[in-house]
Symmetry: C2
Subunit: 632 residues, 2 copies
């Protein structure tokens, strides 16, 4: 262990990354006390994480490890990469422990850590599937067997465990595993396997292991895996042209693979500054965000290969939009934000959190969506677990990490990326100065945000002016109107000699907004989606029982007003307004196509329409759901 | 062989089926002499069929059979059901031989027949994959290995070979195979396997074998397979509820499986009259046609599992619409037409032939589409062959069978189902009366059709008034206006004492028509498709190079006129008219979504638009293609 590495629970530790613009704030330096995120994080700690551990036990995932370490003589159960679910769970538990330590959680963490560590082979190998009769197959099918993906998730868990507990035992296991990987993968001329894993993940893990230990060979190995790769992962299809990462100008193929890869590349870039990686990342980000992003922030439209489609291929009802892909996008944008310090990454991070990650989890924290459609007939429901259970522990670790996303630090300054009631105690990197902030707000339900500086000093506060707030944002600093224009989609820099008790007051108006999509997006043609503040809305049958949602047409003049309903869906602002319903057209009986005539459509009648936040859908009686509403 | 079975080349022989309304006309009783189909059939005989045989040889498909019969000691090559491609090819060749015998074709047929027959096992089993080390696996995985599917294609080929050549050798091979299947599959209480194949096909084959031999046990076995089945085939997904055929009220799952199954059930129904099968078939047909049919006639929208989607799930660019599924729909509608004598089945058969089957084949007869999208960016191109090569020989056998679809007979009457220049000599079933007809028309390019009765007599002619001709159809019989109203989508019955030389003249106006789709079909919202006569049109970039097809908007008033271009695409009527092009909206740069405003869109400019028949797309320089055009 090199002396200058500090043991604090930071997620993606760019504190010493030479090419990162922003540095991280440890997750235990931020205390959320809001009514939106913190209750979810409490459910995550108290219900989701213990329940997931039970699933891991009951589905044989931990028994597979006991089998591998010789403690149990049983057949391997489930999918060959199931260890990764245990690793991701352990990472979630470690981050949860960092902010809210408890003896029960510590006991579960110790148990899982023990079962994992005990199955390590003498040469460092660690994967319960490839033991005994399967030992000879280790590393022989990196394209499909995901051994490096599983290893990466373990290494990330070990780093989280080390940073959250200060204990080095799992980190040592991870270093032995990483050493074995370095011995196995490398240039062909060294007699090593010159190939990358079908599922990216190891790249991120090795950079974080480098950051935790200071050992540059882990960084070098991550660079090797980036350089040697052809394709973006899991591209087992003739339709994809496989080429080195630097040559891509778009996201392609399996969505989770793609954003796990771009996350790892961003990690490498933060350490190396390689301009060719930066150029490729920016091109790829532009393509994803301007051509392949759902209005939810979700990505990966195709069921076939869980993949990105062509540009503008964004079907609503048949959207795949895996929960893990949205989480991968959060991971990537979190890293891009640290790299560039540009608010557009924080904008997308926030939007994706609320509207693409959160829908993946039920309000009770006990069931999950794998796919997240934007329209449904009422049959798509969350499930308690999956045979391929990647999404549940991924959601848990993201919620556990969440406080680490709220703030960053730059030169003599604090960046406020996300808004929620709570407080933070933030160490500025250069001078050891500590900034204490308290935030009061009902965000995301209300756009009034008050940040109180509890400790004086000369530093900057960068407040994010969300891109969604296109009009009317205003800012007061210590009772005075902020002098500069506020640009949506940027950080407002407030630099002054702060007095303890100084208050910053940001007002972000939250009228209901009507979005339209690019005309090349065929599925959303002639339709609008409703948003309010950072939240996307949808219409559910249970609130609108009197008509078929497909017959709904919004007029341009319709006005939607928000009102907080404390009893509904754990407390949400609903949107209400008037809309038209087109009655069934008898001309369509027993027809799917007909000659277009100028004959007027049947006269619509007016109805009251209620919309709820999309993240909360499918938590009540099953029924139709629709995000994109027909519009006049 | 029972004496009353006649050896004539009929496709789906309902001549003695007690519950069929119509009886078939042998394919060699019809001579097409038109400029549309007959040149395609000539290419099929002279180029496609010989070239496909070469592919069968070069890809090891026939060598697999030589291996199974001990002639070659080589490894099995390709997919386990590859024999079926040889069988389908043989069926195609046999039907081609029936209308156009040639020594070269006879030689190829004999060669293939020999290689197939020689690999039959002593117990009747016939499948090149399951020999030697795989023998023990025979019939152990009917859900996925498709042995009965392969067997069914062989039996169909053997029946075609028998009916086309009069030779019984292959038919005897088929009977031995069918006997082995009967010994193996049946009620569990008889110690047999009580299960159906994952891929339907054997049902049709056994009914035709029954019709060719008079052996009722083949029909009984087909009934058994219909009764024992759960699901519609290949439903290897949790998302499908598996249940007996009679309980379905919709098409579901793998599209080819579904329509092969309904075809086989229709065959069983024609023999048994089981009313529960009829009810199910009618419900399923209604669902397919009114909720799940592309405007091309294509079916099966999902790439995932090559399956039907939900109702109205009909994406254009991401349409799967396998060529084989369209062929399966033709097979089913051909059988339903024979069963019910209802013109709606002939309407769909014609529409599917022109607009969903034909696009699967290049104009030169040498390359094929597996998937048939309704919009493309220019990257989807036909291929010369496939690893899974189901489509190419399926197209070949359909073209070879085609004359058999043009006419049927009913009590004392001839049904004219399809229109093309040519002649026919049709035996009426009851009295042995022979009707000779000559048709003169430029159909499908022109709707003037003259049918001359060459031999007098007292019989009815049922002329199909196509459903597409909603207005203006007129009919003259022997120079006099037909007395009854013509109903589009029905047969006009003309019954009289015919004199040789009597002429029937049907006029079907062919203005360009603008179709709209049901409002629940999200992908076609605000769009129109162009048709003329029975043909669907599309717009290709190569004819419209000056703009992005996605920027095209058709006004309601735009008038399209057709003109025949003899040099273009082997001679087609193109549609030309004026349309608008919306210039790129700068407000969409670097945006995928934006707040909807009332601001006017940039002013469009007017362009000349050229549309070509959809079947002919992708035969010139690659570029964008679009069926559904934005409409004001």
């Amino acid at each position: 262990m090199s002396a200058e590495v500090s043991v604090v629970p930071v997620v993606v530790d760019t504190a010493n990354s030479p090419y990162a613009s922003l540095k991280p704030v440890p997750i235990n330096a931020v205390r959320l006390a809001d009514r939106f995120w913190e209750p979810r994080r409490r459910i995550n700690r108290d219900i989701t994480i213990p329940l997931q551990y039970r699933h891991l036990e009951e589905t044989g995932r931990i028994d597979n490890m006991r089998r591998a370490s010789g403690k149990k003589s049983i057949p391997f159960e489930g999918i060959h990469f199931n260890d990764s679910d245990v690793h991701k769970w352990l990472e979630a538990a470690a981050w949860a422990f960092a902010t809210d330590p408890s003896p029960d959680l510590a006991r579960l963490i110790d148990q899982a850590a023990l079962e994992i560590a005990d199955m390590q082979q003498p040469n460092g190998y660690l994967h319960s599937y490839f033991v005994f009769e399967k030992e000879a197959e280790r590393w022989t099918n990196t394209r499909f067997m995901h051994e490096l993906y599983v290893a990466g998730h373990f290494i990330q868990a070990a780093v989280a465990h080390y940073r959250s507990t200060g204990e080095t035992k799992l980190l040592q296991v991870a270093e032995r595993l990483a050493g074995h990987i370095i011995d196995t993968f490398g240039p062909a001329e060294e007699g090593k396997r010159a190939e990358a894993d079908g599922h990216p993940e190891i790249e991120m893990a090795l950079v974080e292991l480098y950051r935790a230990t200071g050992e540059t060979r882990y960084l070098d190995q991550a660079k090797f895996f980036v350089d040697v790769r052809q394709g973006m992962g899991r591209m087992n299809r003739a339709e994809y042209e496989l080429k080195p990462f630097r040559e891509y100008d778009r996201v392609i193929g399996h969505a989770v693979c793609a954003v796990y890869l771009t996350s790892g590349v961003t990690d490498v870039l933060a350490e190396t500054g390689d301009p060719t990686l930066r150029t490729a990342l920016e091109r790829i980000w532009d393509n994803m965000v301007f051509k392949q992003l759902y209005v939810t922030g979700g990505i990966g439209s195709r069921w076939d290969n869980e993949a990105f489609g062509r540009d503008y291929e964004l079907p609503s009802e048949r959207a795949y939009t895996e929960t893990c892909a949205a989480i991968g996008s959060v991971m990537w944008n979190h890293r891009m934000l640290a790299l560039e310090g540009d608010a557009r990454f924080a904008d997308l991070l926030e939007h994706t959190l609320y509207n693409a990650v959160l829908p993946g989890l039920s309000l009770d924290g006990q069931s999950y969506f794998y796919q997240n459609p934007l329209a449904d007939d009422g049959t798509h429901r969350r499930e308690e677990w999956f045979g391929c259970a990647c999404c549940p522990p991924n959601v848990a670790r993201l919620l556990a990490q969440l406080p680490g996303y709220f703030y960053s630090t730059g030169p003599d300054s604090v960046y406020v990326n996300l808004y929620a009631e709570g407080s933070a105690e933030i160490q500025l990197p250069e001078e050891g100065q500590t900034v204490r902030l308290t935030t009061r707000t009902q965000y995301p339900w209300d756009g009034d945000i008050e940040v109180e500086v509890k400790s004086g000093g000369d530093f900057g506060i960068f407040l994010r002016i969300p891109a969604w707030c296109e009009e009317g944002a205003s800012l007061e600093v210590a009772g005075e109107r902020f002098g500069k224009a506020l640009m949506p989609g940027s950080y407002a820099e407030i630099r002054r000699e702060w007095q303890a008790g100084d208050k910053v007051r940001l007002r972000l108006p939250m009228p209901a907004r009507r979005l339209e999509a690019h005309p090349y997006s065929v599925d959303t043609s002639g339709r609008v989606a409703l948003m309010r503040g950072p939240l996307l809305y949808c219409v559910e049958k249970v609130d609108n029982p009197g008509f078929d949602l497909r017959d709904l047409v919004l007029g341009d003049e319709a006005d939607f007003t928000g009102s907080f309903e404390p009893e509904l869906l754990n407390g949400v602002v609903i949107l209400q307004g008037r809309a038209s319903v087109v009655p069934p057209d008898l001309g369509w009986q027993h027809r799917l196509y007909r000659q277009k005539t100028a004959a007027p459509a049947p006269a619509p009648h007016t109805v009251n329409l209620t919309a709820v936040p999309y993240y909360a859908w499918a938590n009540r009686d099953p029924g139709q759901m629709l995000v994109w509403l027909r519009s006049k």
